[in-house]
């Protein structure tokens, strides 16, 4: 906090003393109170990426290096060309801090914000995804309360706007108990023309600046500075910063915006999110190389007597700013009228490169448009936490329970069990595009009506692994999310990420961030996946213990499936078929669910990622797809491959006869073999007839593939070839445990 004297008032700002001096020097005068507030917001961590920018530059330049990337980082959303004249936009963002204190409205407005970002690219939002983190549910009313209302907030907002929530992810871990994570992602689809029509820049002098949507109120002033601090510091005092969502108005904004774009007269478009009007106007003009003259009196306010500071910084929801060609103003306003959306012509752009805002005759803002976006960066120090050495040396305890007992416990554990309780509440089918629905595949698959193309999208990461080795963990997140879309028959096309970390001023927290970004950057380069956007949320810390959350770089991957017959789903289909595993299992139990659920152990060495191996596996799978040799596919995730096989049995209530005698190249213990979380493995169902052909291809690709069993009609999973002999698991009991965990816990 720095105290700055403006006129008679003294204002507390988050700017540093040297930043204030820079502003004074650049302006050659003292900033007005409104200007100072604008700098304060725009240069907050949340808007300016002060701490993170130097690290994010590790990502390769997606627009330059990938010809199908139309918009990369720096825009409101990443956009890729998916062929047939279509553009796909997508983006992920965090809404952690508001959701931790007001789960319902916090999550709802998170959805509201991400929808606006997609809309800004000129395309229709067609899908949402929601990776979430909470404290454990069991015996914890606070976590249950957060979980229940976050899900309800997402459901009520997404459902009402008519955008299906097609996927997501939930993990429960003590570290998220008071600082839950609510990340939300949105996908938009349109033609390449649509996208070109709506840059988030004002390039032309003389265009009209139009504000459309909800009224401007005192709510949420300084929401972004709130998001740029830890909850401990501010949450009580800053609580009014939480916004009330209005999905109905948002739905009208979507329709009015898309129809306005269709007129061809919209030349620029920007949502009002963090920083409100000041942020939107300075980005539009600053990035577009123009200036603007704005009459603040035109802005429709909700409350009387709002001053310029409040109006320029209000983060009231559901507003959009349009840059409109002069000759099309009337037509665009007619569209807004049709939808009965409030709107106001605030002023015009000019070539002054200066943003001027008048309150009556008073010039309250008079800033070089570019100044606000020229935020300084802050070099942060990194330090690997000392506790890691100790944690990484943990070894697997002697099993305290029988293997079958452990399998039942794992399948019922909060992180592995079914998340149906969540997705039943989401309208995941509106839009008539959802082909692979929640629960039927590793990713959500949407058709593109009028083509034979399909979009697959998945989001996730493993916070426990990232805690132990953020570099490898971040890579794993990418391999995992790609594996999910591949399992459904897609080729991964591009990635966006949402970095959730602790206080960057603490060297240990910043180390996690730096390592995770390095991991993502390396992995994406090696796997040839462009990073087209992202978001950073710092200051995620536990109020009480003052410790950071486990590092959580959420990864979202979108992929494309060419042709309906190439869509693959997760459930086993037919008894008598072979069960094959792709990839070896190593003793990689560090940070596993097995450790955590059975031994309450956080430690050990987590799985490592070998991108070369992974890439050939993916190529091999694509080859099998091409030859129509795979009937079901599921990538191996938490709990190990035995859990994967169980999950594949549930839907059609099949069983499996497994023999693992020859699938143990490293002489692993039974528990290591069954529960290890080695990255990049897949379980596939194939017709026995094709076995030789598959093995031949495996040899050609130099891929490790092994038949480990056959599907049986009787819903029992028999496991032979273990060191401890034979094991028999009741697949129906397993299914029941899998399905009932969360409903039982949530019957508060």
């Amino acid at each position: 906090m720095t105290k700055v004297k403006v006129d008679e008032n003294e204002l507390n700002v988050d700017l540093t003393q040297s930043e204030v001096e820079w502003i004074q020097n650049t302006l050659e005068r003292n900033p007005s109170i409104t200007e100072l507030g604008m700098f304060d917001v725009m240069w907050s961590e949340h808007c300016s990426y002060k701490s993170s920018r130097p690290k994010l530059s590790l990502f390769e330049d997606a627009e330059k290096n990938y010809d199908y990337v139309l918009a990369g980082p720096g825009q409101d959303a990443g956009v890729i060309d998916i062929g047939d004249g279509y553009a796909l936009a997508f983006r992920i963002e965090s809404h952690n801090h508001p959701s931790a204190i007001e789960p319902y409205h916090g999550a709802a407005t998170g959805i509201g914000g991400i929808i606006r970002d997609i809309l800004c690219m000129g395309v229709r939002p067609i899908a949402l995804l929601d990776p979430l983190r909470f404290g454990p549910l069991k015996g914890n009313p606070h976590s249950q309360w957060l979980f229940k209302y976050v899900v309800k907030g997402i459901a009520d907002y997404g459902n009402c706007t008519g955008i299906p929530t097609i996927g997501g992810e939930v993990e429960f871990d003590k570290c998220f108990e008071s600082n839950c994570l609510v990340n939300v992602a949105c996908i938009g689809l349109g033609t390449i023309e649509d996208f070109k029509h709506a840059p988030s820049r004002a390039y032309n002098p003389g265009d009209y600046v139009v504000l459309m949507g909800g009224s401007t109120g005192r709510d949420g002033i300084h929401g972004v500075t709130f998001a740029s601090r830890t909850l401990t510091e501010l949450s009580e005092a800053d609580r009014p910063a939480v916004q009330i969502g209005d999905p109905f108005t948002k739905k009208m904004i979507i329709e009015a915006t898309l129809e306005a774009i269709k007129t061809g007269y919209v030349r620029g478009l920007k949502d009002l999110g963090g920083g409100g009007l000041s942020c939107a106007l300075s980005e539009l003009t600053g990035d577009g190389g123009t200036g603007a003259k704005i009459d603040m009196g035109k802005i429709f306010t909700r409350e009387p007597n709002m001053n310029s500071y409040e109006i320029m910084l209000s983060e009231s929801q559901e507003r959009m700013a349009f840059i409109v060609k002069p000759e099309g103003l009337e037509e665009v306003l007619n569209v807004f009228q049709k939808f009965e959306m409030a709107h106001a012509v605030l002023g015009r752009t000019d070539d002054s490169k200066i943003l001027r805002v008048y309150d009556g005759d008073n010039l309250v803002v008079n800033l070089p448009a570019i100044a606000l976006s020229e935020s300084p960066t802050i070099p942060r120090t990194e330090k690997r936490p000392d506790y890691l050495d100790q944690l990484l040396t943990e070894i697997t305890p002697e099993p305290s329970k029988k293997l079958d007992e452990i399998i039942y416990i794992l399948i019922a554990s909060e992180n592995i069990c079914s998340k149906e309780w969540v997705y039943r509440q989401y309208d995941h089918e509106v839009g008539v595009r959802s082909v692979v629905k929640c629960g039927d595949g590793d990713s959500g698959v949407l058709r593109i009506i009028g083509t034979d193309k399909f979009i697959a999208a998945s989001v996730g990461t493993n916070s426990k692994h990232c805690y132990l080795e953020p570099y490898e963990g971040a890579k794993e997140g990418i391999v995992e999310a790609c594996g999910n879309v591949i399992a459904n028959g897609a080729k991964p096309k591009a990635m966006v990420n949402c970095c959730n970390f602790g206080n960057p001023e603490k060297p240990e927290s910043f180390w996690y961030f730096a390592e995770a970004v390095r991991g993502m950057a390396d992995c994406c380069k090696n796997l040839r996946i462009p990073v087209v956007g992202g978001n950073v949320s710092f200051y995620n810390e536990d109020e009480v213990s003052n410790t950071a959350i486990k590092a959580t770089p959420e990864i979202m991957i979108v992929g494309i499936i060419e042709g309906e017959d190439n869509i693959i789903t997760l459930p086993f289909k037919e008894f008598g078929d072979d069960i094959l595993i792709i990839g070896e299992t190593k003793a990689e139990l560090g940070g596993s669910e097995y450790y955590s659920v059975i031994y309450d152990l956080e430690g050990g060495i987590p799985p490592k990622v070998d991108e070369n191996q992974i890439k050939t596996r993916w190529n091999f799978i694509q080859e099998l797809y091409k030859k129509k040799l795979i009937k079901a596919n599921h990538d191996v995730n938490k709990g190990g491959f035995i859990i994967t096989i169980g999950e594949m049995c549930f839907k059609n209530e099949l069983g499996a006869k497994l023999d693992l005698k020859d699938y143990n190249n490293y002489g692993l213990r039974d528990d290591e073999l069954l529960f290890s979380e080695s990255v990049g493995r897949f379980i596939i169902e194939t017709n026995p007839r094709n076995h030789n052909e598959i093995m031949k291809l495996a040899k050609k690709f130099k891929i490790y593939v092994k038949k480990i069993g056959v599907l049986s009609q009787n819903p029992t999973i028999e496991i032979k070839g273990l060191k401890s002999g034979k094991l028999e698991i009741d697949a129906l009991k397993m299914k029941n445990l899998y399905q009932s965990t969360i409903p039982n816990l949530m019957e508060i």
Partner: protein, 90 residues
């Protein structure tokens, strides 16, 4: 101790500074369009009526206040609650 039956009525609503899209929409899209423009504002909320036994009315109110807070039936971040003081029926 003698316990009696009490009825406590409570209204939860968004804080005055927070928006109330439900009330706004009722006013704008229903009342105003149907000619009820003498209505300048509508606010909506949730009503709850509790039937409980307690030593006296004050105690009954305390119990309700406590459970509203403890069980998170309302969230103080965005909502207010008030216990309704109704006129006694004559």
């Amino acid at each position: 101790m003698i316990y009696s039956e009490f009825i406590i009525e409570v209204v939860l609503e968004n804080k005055p500074a927070a928006r109330d899209p439900v009330g706004e929409t009722i006013r704008r899209d229903l009342l105003a369009k149907k000619g009820y423009d003498m209505v300048s504002n509508v606010r909506s909320g949730q009503y709850l009526r509790f039937y409980l036994s307690a030593e006296n009315e004050k105690k009954a109110e305390e119990i309700i206040e406590e459970l509203l807070n403890k069980l998170r039936i309302f969230n103080p971040v965005t909502q207010n609650f008030k216990i309704l003081k109704l006129q006694k029926e004559s």
